[in-house]
């Protein structure tokens, strides 16, 4: 685990999403890919819920309790409730603030190389290591950047005409809900 590299990525996600999404026309914020799929607003709310309940709380569970207690299950629909009545700009601010706090906490753990192999218990996946948790935190950001680019591109599906054959993002069926 190259912690510095992972932190370098984790601190980039809020400004990257800010540059991409702040003050975006509503057509891109609230349209989804059909059915009960998520829109961009849902995705940012989901990232916020992760900052509050997932990554750092789970890292602390590993360090304090090891495998003796499974992590709290993650609520993948919490944002439907928690984002209600907010504006996208507020969510972007909240995400940036929470991520910054969490990276400060992560640095404050002063992890030594041996710590990365410490083990915890995921409620569905079983035994996992701290190193895997931290790598997943970064890869989870990228999964949702991947999803956001796909949701936004979906709004152009009809408009691109025959070019659809050349646009990989419009062939992506989505790999997470």
């Amino acid at each position: 685990m190259h912690l510095d590299q992972t932190i370098s990525l984790l601190r980039r996600t809020p400004p990257a999403l800010d540059a991409l999404l702040r003050d975006l026309p509503e057509g891109w914020i609230f349209r989804n890919e059909g059915g009960d799929s998520w829109n961009v607003f849902d995705v940012v709310g989901h990232l916020i819920h992760g900052e509050r309940t997932d990554w750092i709380p789970r890292a602390k569970t590993i360090l304090e309790l090891g495998e003796t207690r499974a992590f709290e299950p993650f609520d993948r629909l919490a944002q439907k409730r928690e984002s209600k009545g907010k504006l996208l700009g507020q969510l972007l601010d909240e995400f940036a603030h929470l991520r910054n706090d969490n990276l400060t906490q992560l640095r404050g753990l002063n992890l030594r190389p041996a710590d990365f192999e410490r083990r915890g218990r995921h409620p569905a996946l079983g035994v996992v290591t701290l190193s895997q948790l931290l790598a997943t935190w970064a890869a989870h950001d990228l999964t949702h950047l991947h999803q956001i680019s796909r949701i936004m591109a979906h709004q152009y599906r009809e408009q691109v005409g025959p070019w659809i054959d050349f646009l990989g993002v419009l062939k992506c069926a989505g790999h997470s809900s």
Copy 2:
């Protein structure tokens, strides 16, 4: 074609890529997804080549020549030659500069609603409209943001352990090379 919405997206891509990529550790810039797949450096070079030779030149071809002359074919490997010896920071600067110029040119065309239905000829796809070209410009940005998130996530493929099952981006096989 909502030109304002498309311009709003097109002007976001350079700052979003800047926030995500500038001064990124080399492990994320120069590693690819295996074989002769592209790395992040290649993708930014490809976006630059598009700014130089694809979108605005093709829009002008449509407006000036209609279907009488097919567009110049796009060189998908130009960046291997043109990016040689440059740093990623230089490429990000170059992309931002060219995109800004091109959006100034686009606004300067003073397109009227009827212009969006004007037709040109793509060397492989046949007849296309100006509206489709402009939508493709934006969707092409999103295709490569989608690809960049996938290339970066690939570097975590081994490190995430059992979480791989929950990370959509690691199930994406890539839909463009």
